[in-house]
Symmetry: C2
Subunit: 364 residues, 2 copies
């Protein structure tokens, strides 16, 4: 702790390990292939822990991220992002070394790959199950058929199955809402599998967002899951109901630079360039994180105190609104922890983790 001088991401490694083990156990229990999404962790050291637990395949959201993990021995990677036709050289190079799966959301991209690729790759068709971001609608039979036709023309593209990301589960605010989305999503996927399995007996269906993967216990017919956020969780996941506050495994340690007693606000070195500007409504208040007291021995942090929150962020500054008791506990020149609204975004910005054991772990 004494060595922290600027905003730094603290990793509570025992908590993250417990989160990871819980998901690995759940996948085993339900006979699901776990292909965790490493866009959250972006770190070889953390990924190796998955490998120790028997996980040998992963998901990433960018080709550069696939390169990073391939360099540490991951040889079965799905890039769960609509294939970027401008990165064919890197894709080609990767596909020559590892088992690479790409995502398509339209026949044009499949046709392009068919024409350009020299190495074999696996292809998932992305289905939009309600998130409204991208993917083919499940009822768009002509669209799906066009994709399958292009995939089938040559021998470089191997159709793997249907992939979804129920991003709308992030808008849920109760376990019941998440489970309803899960039932709808998995029913849609099962229907697609049923429809296409005669033509493609080995096709798999792969959903994967942290809320449904954390909460659901009904997985009949599902082959693979790809949650990403769960090793760390965050305040948004607490609000959704995916986890409890004690499960959050990352916090931003921030120097306290000013105290304003008249408005019970504390100013920290820690802004939008550290936490990201992700926000949510919490107790009727728009917040950018929850402040916590850090343990002096580097062994984690207290649970947040009701009524304390990060009220606003500028580029480098954060403003914490405090209760009188919390205000008293912070001092200028000291540190305070911030539990992030969205851990993926906060971690993406950081260059390394500082673990509760005092180690620095580099990341992408």
């Amino acid at each position: 702790m004494q060595n922290i001088n600027t905003p730094s991401v603290l990793l509570n490694w025992p908590t993250a390990q417990a989160n990871i083990r819980r998901m690995v156990d759940k996948a085993l229990r339900h006979g699901l292939h776990l292909r965790p999404h490493f866009k959250t962790i972006q770190c070889h050291r953390i990924a190796r822990y998955f490998r120790e637990l028997g996980v040998n395949a992963c998901t990433v959201s960018a080709v550069s991220m696939a390169e990073y993990f391939a360099a540490d021995g991951w040889d079965d990677i799905t890039v769960a992002f609509p294939v970027n036709l401008r990165e064919m050289e890197t894709i080609e190079a990767l596909a020559s070394r590892i088992s690479l799966n790409l995502l398509i959301v339209n026949a044009e991209s499949a046709a392009f790959l068919q024409k350009k690729l020299k190495q074999p790759v696996g292809i998932f068709i992305k289905i939009d199950v309600g998130a409204g971001r991208t993917g083919l609608l499940p009822e768009d039979e002509p669209g799906i058929e066009n994709c399958l036709k292009e995939i089938g023309i040559g021998d470089k593209l191997g159709f793997k199955g249907f992939l979804t990301h129920a991003g709308h589960s992030y808008r849920a605010r109760s376990k019941a809402e998440v489970l309803k989305i899960h039932e709808e999503t998995t029913a849609t996927l099962r229907a697609l599998k049923e429809k296409y399995r005669r033509r493609f007996p080995r096709l798999i269906i792969s959903p994967g967002d942290t809320p449904t993967c954390s909460l659901a216990e009904t997985w009949a017919g599902i082959d693979e899951i790809r949650p990403g956020n769960f090793p760390f969780y965050d305040v948004m996941q607490v609000q959704i109901g995916s986890c409890e506050m004690k499960d959050i495994a990352v916090a931003l340690a921030c120097p306290v630079v000013a105290k304003h007693a008249d408005r019970q606000e504390v100013i920290i070195y820690g802004g939008g360039v550290h936490l990201s500007k992700d926000r949510l409504l919490w107790d009727g208040q728009e917040i950018y994180g929850l402040p916590v007291l850090l343990h002096g021995n580097g062994n984690g942090w207290e649970m947040p105190e009701a009524g304390c929150f990060v009220k606003s962020l500028s580029q480098e500054h954060g403003i914490i609104r405090c209760t009188p008791s919390f205000f008293e506990k912070l001092e200028i020149g000291g540190l305070v922890g911030i539990l992030p609204v969205h851990s993926c975004m906060m971690v993406d910005i950081a260059k390394s983790y500082l673990t509760t054991e005092g180690q620095v772990w580099e990341k992408l």
Copy 2:
């Protein structure tokens, strides 16, 4: 353009040069010392252009940024952020090499510096002129006197004057509102100068936000200005009225990965990890940027088309809502430019600029 494969910050260098020259000329015209805030540009190459125009002092928002610019010969730097008492070693090292000014917002920090610092530094007292972030209130005479007392105890801290950042000008939505804030802010500073100049004959007053510095033409009594955003501007500054759309000098070039004709939406590789999640209300719509057609020859971009906007961002994806004509002009595998809501945040994330002349300029 052909070499852009992943989201990349394009810099329209002639536009940025014109923006910079305009501010330098204005400072000269009004006899103001221009100490530009380099938190926006974070780039040696761009900073050197300021030096060519006779600017020899700068502002930064972090000690690490001061180190970066000191390494390129900047020897008069103000760190316009409440001094972080945990960075004394770096501050000490910097202060031994350059003329360094620090900011204090309370007497405790001044006392700490007094006790710890071995090198002389300049000290500004930050005054909160209405932004409500940090600083002493102008009417807080006891608070200001306590600071001055601590500063005056030894010979290491030299009182330089009063500094403000009228951050509330970012909430203005018309030139008249900005000018009203400017009049209030500068009147407050002039009154402080008047009050303290007998005791501190060389004290200076230093405001500095891009809206007021871009729009105001009355600067009587003001010594120094520290705007930062103006070399690039952004959609927020257009909305405030600080500049016109044609003055925006940076855009994020993003690969198009999918088109959804049914909802006239285009999906780009370019998300919150590239643009930041800064947003604003534009024509009644929450937006994360404005899409523009890029010139194929790398020579800038078209002006945005009404009715087109970045509707949402996730970690790596962006969704652009299009008019039918704009939708037709984008193609999968092509590029589209995004004018940022907040250029400082977008640029902070990037590792380099790609200039309209085809050069790559590294940044902090």
